[in-house]
Point group: C2
């Protein structure tokens, strides 16, 4: 599995991954109705933002974006987001992407990485993050409307770098 | 002190308040170098966002913005931000604005209000929020670069509605 920068020609392969994740409404606080172009604008940010894909045999199995969590006096803390294709879940793609993001943030001098809204029922992701050094800073009760489980909490997670 | 919607002709009075707050770099994770127009775009959001001013004798002493904290499955939780003119601090303007935002959010059916980044050294604000029903969900260590106190924590605060 290779991680490389998301290039101009990758979006047709990335969009179905992003679309399926946001339309499932169970892990991301994104507008599930957003268009491909709106999603591209959110996912592929201008520098210092950085977006990558996880590729094997020319096929994209996952994607990540990373960059400063806040501007100005908050810009020394990074954030990142990860999406994995449905057929590639459970194969470690998320772990590889998260490890890459942490390395990237460390190399770029960030002092930590913060996740602002990790759905508490997304236990696979929470476990990956914990294994890689994140702790739950706090949980906002009922802040996420899950299609099956109703209102569940959103974790704020942090990893010092 | 009257709270009313921020109108098209108010920005010349609001911008100096916003400018002074963000250039002080001690309470907001905004880019301190942003222009008046960039700040206006961030502060005065399209509906469902809502921006107001606190007015007395035709003069604007403070401003607030409010709306959904996240899109999609997070949109039932509101957020808000407040700025008070330097010469009007300690006169209760912040409290009046925060109370207004909570009432607005309740009337618009939000289930809670979340603040994503309250600088822990901004004790005046933290005390106002606690008095009005907020609790600290967690604190991200060293996430704010304070010009005098160095890296200080950012509270995530929440008030159920």
């Amino acid at each position: 599995m290779e991680i490389r920068e998301l290039g101009d020609t990758d979006w047709p392969q990335v969009w179905p991954i992003v679309r399926d994740v946001i339309r499932a409404r169970d892990t991301f606080t994104y507008d599930p109705e957003m268009t491909a172009e709106q999603a591209r604008g959110i996912w592929v940010e201008a520098p210092p933002g950085h977006a990558v894909v996880a590729v094997e045999d020319g096929r994209i199995y996952g994607t990540a974006k990373m960059g400063p969590n806040k501007p100005g006096p908050g810009s020394h803390i990074s954030t990142a987001s990860f999406m994995v294709a449905g057929e590639a879940r459970g194969k470690g793609v998320g772990t590889v992407l998260c490890r890459y993001a942490l390395d990237w943030a460390r190399e770029h001098g960030y002092a930590g990485m913060q996740f602002n809204a990790v759905v508490e029922t997304n236990v696979t992701a929470v476990e990956i993050y914990k294994r890689l050094g994140f702790t739950v800073i706090g949980t906002v009760p009922g802040a996420f409307e899950h299609p099956v489980q109703g209102r569940v909490g959103l974790h704020i997670m942090f990893c010092p770098l």
